[in-house]
């Protein structure tokens, strides 16, 4: 197991270097620069432009800027945002808990509904239930997030008035953030009704962000289950006279879980991409919206720092998934 772990960690180093190069290059490949965009229609003189570029350190050779960025990043310094002038690290971790809370709820929603739906669809293969589930999953998978979000807001918040339109908590509640996770902070604040308010604000964004992972999990569970249900040992278990629920729940589902866990792990990247749109619609103060704003403003340090952090998180999650996978499936940790 230790060798497996070391092998996986060893792979992370070149990936990390690759990510720093990609994130550094990405924002610089885009035409335009932060000074031009800051000045807007008003414009700046070429001299003033050069002066500001020098002040930001963008006049130095690219390789020098890159190594500066790389070594600072290794020491945990991602530089200061050109716009807010605050450290990128602080900005990221102020906003990250909001994204994490939403992503966690979305994946929980996807698993809690998606897995049982997939199992039932597999067991009732070909039935109207199966077809409805799989049809709905396909629709969910193809749903444009922006449109889906607005539709839910108009229906549940606008017409029915069941859920709040946007934000993380009612503006009536005001307490300093402790953990940055609103569900936890609202409980810690001790203010009556704060937790319920935070929870009600999470409902729609969770559904919107969780829809695509839900569809993927449901489809993946169904196909994994179908495969496992056709195995000899399942037939044997049935022949032994075990109850159908025991055959499905214990013998089949456990083995079907392996590819499903991998799928869930892969959804982390999808979630972060979906978070950009979901956060924009629901005025959710997370990193998705922040990244988009930073790209539009050509805030070089914020974009390269943000991308690096996101990549690091995705790598970490994938490492954890791989380790979990290794724990569940011994074949993985013994091969290669």
């Amino acid at each position: 197991m230790l060798a497996f772990l070391l092998r996986r960690i060893g792979l992370i180093i070149p990936t990390f270097i690759g990510v720093t190069i990609a994130s550094f290059a990405f924002i610089r490949i885009l035409p335009g620069d932060p000074v031009l965009l800051m000045a807007g229609e008003r414009g700046t003189s070429p001299e003033r432009h050069a002066e500001l570029m020098k002040q930001f350190g963008f006049d130095r050779p690219l390789w020098e800027q890159y190594f500066d960025y790389l070594f600072s990043a290794l020491q945990g310094d991602l530089g200061n945002s050109l716009v807010t002038k605050k450290p990128v690290w602080d900005e990221f971790f102020t906003l990250f808990p909001a994204t994490m809370e939403l992503s966690f709820c979305a994946i929980l929603f996807a698993v809690i509904i998606g897995m049982p739906a997939g199992v039932f669809a597999a067991v009732k293969r070909g039935s109207w239930f199966d077809q409805t589930i799989m049809g709905t999953a396909l629709v969910g998978y193809s749903m444009p997030i922006f449109w889906w979000g607005l539709l839910l807001i108009i229906l549940f918040s606008g017409m029915l008035g069941w859920t709040p339109v946007s934000g993380r908590i009612s503006l009536l509640y005001f307490f300093p953030p402790v953990t940055g996770f609103m569900l936890v902070d609202s409980l810690l604040s001790g203010q009556k009704g704060a937790f319920a308010s935070a929870l009600s604000h999470l409902i729609l964004p969770t559904i919107v962000l969780g829809t695509i992972p839900l569809a993927v999990v449901a489809r993946q569970t169904r196909s994994a289950m179908l495969e496992v249900l056709g195995e000899d040992y399942v037939r044997t278990a049935r022949a032994k006279g075990l109850s159908p629920s025991r055959v499905i729940g214990v013998h089949a589902l456990r083995n079907a879980m392996i590819p499903v866990i991998t799928t869930i792990g892969l959804q982390v990247g999808v979630l972060l991409a979906g978070a950009i749109l979901t956060e924009t619609i629901f005025s959710w103060p997370g990193i998705g919206k922040w990244m988009v704003d930073s790209i539009f403003r050509r805030d070089y340090p914020a974009v390269q720092g943000g991308l690096l952090m996101i990549a690091a998180i995705v790598m970490l999650v994938n490492l954890i998934v791989d380790l979990l996978y290794g724990l569940i499936n011994p074949r993985i940790r013994h091969t290669r």
């Binding site: 035409p31 620069d33 930001f56 200061n80």
Partner: protein, 532 residues
Amino acid sequence: MKRTKLFLATLLATTMLAAGSASAKTLIYCSEGSPEGFDPAPYTAGTTFDASSKPLYNRLVEFKRGTSEVIPGLAESWEVSEDGLTYTFKLRQGVKFHSTDYFTPTRDFNADDVIFTFERQLKKDHPWNQYTAGIAWEYFDGMSMPDLLASIEKVDDHTVKFMLKRPEAPMVANLAMDFASIMSAEYAAKLEADGKKEMLNQQPVGTGPFKFVAYQKDAVIRYAAHEGYWSGKQPIDDLVFAITTDASVRQQKLKAGECHVAPYPNPADLEALKADPNLQVMEQEGLNVGYLAYNALQAPFDKTEVRKALNMAINKQAILEAVFQGAGKIAKNPIPPTMWSYNDAIEDDPYNPEEAKKMLEAAGVKDLKMKVWAMPVQRPYNPNARRMAELIQADFAKVGVEVEIVSYEWGEYLKLSKEKDRDGAILLGWTGDNGDPDNFLAVLLGCDGVGGSNRAQWCNKEFEDLIQKAKTISDKAERTKLYEQAQVVFKREAPWATIAHSVVFMPMSKKVSGYVMDPLGGHWFDGVDIAE
């Protein structure tokens, strides 16, 4: 028994809490974006000013609400010397800075604060010139203040003198702009002593109608009424900015009562908003202009009759309907109708494709192929440049001119369009900074702007003489005459096709009263009240 007591106690406490919160009047504004910081001077975005300079600070002079007229602010009065080079301001006394949990002022506003505010932007060696890494005084520089200001002197605690290098009539209007918001020198000194200079941009202290309470990035900004405000406490107790970037979501929040005022509605939603019995929609013409600038240095656009003919080929009414969806007004002058010196006697070039075709033939222009540049971004003065370019393309085709539409990334667009040898006519626009006609006419059409902000690359001696003269005299009536004449020259020479001025809409709850729309595009909440 015990349980009943506990229940009663809880009930009592809840009631008291509810009563406490009900007596505090809170106004919620669904703002369209996050501020970049709370020190307005390094920034240029209206969103940042709405959250910083407007609620938190005052300036020496202010724009009278709802107009671009300059009135006394922290300066009670001012005098301009004969030669127009010295401006002496008498400062208001008894003005209090905000007391917050991070700063308690020990003195009232005085001349030191004024000196600090401007010197940090003017002097490169000032300890606050670079108070955080990579700071730039965009607006101060953009309004050419470093070339204009010789020095600022404290005469006594309540008198300050601004010495200019040359006479400049719009100087006073410049001082009403956001970058001129007066900061507390005492607070700055404290931050410097604590080694926390950067907090000036994060925990602001001003003299304005509201004081800063808290900001949760990208989510909420909270302000409280400034108890000791020099012109009296505000009718509301708390002001909250709920940051909501999507226009459709802002509209839903307004309808659901989650906010009271929500700016920048989608034009398509206006009908529904106006029909809602709980809402009111205010409107005002924006202080802006959207235009198509030819390149007057390049043939055949160097000929006035060619530019004039093309102007007559554009169906502006169709553009207004398709691009502005009614939220605009046809422009005939380079300055908007709400600005002083607007020359209403001028007649716009009539839409007449047949006549335009004849004029082009008479000018010897045949089979003309040209480029029209379409902006890649949405702006109040042009909500959809691509669509506008397509309509112009169709209009020009009718007079035998073939148009190719080009576009670039915004930063590149702004840069490339400045070049003197730019190929083609460009769609662009301008939003006023200080309500002075000089801010449009000199910046956009003056000879100094050729190769820069004068996208038409047009330099006309008659026009230039008029606007230069108007800059040096401070008598408004006389300046008005000169600008009116300049507009006549502009229309005759046609360096641009003036397209439209936008109309800005402001939906809000009917409970809100006292809100006045700002022609300069800002959002102000002093004097605003909300019914319980």
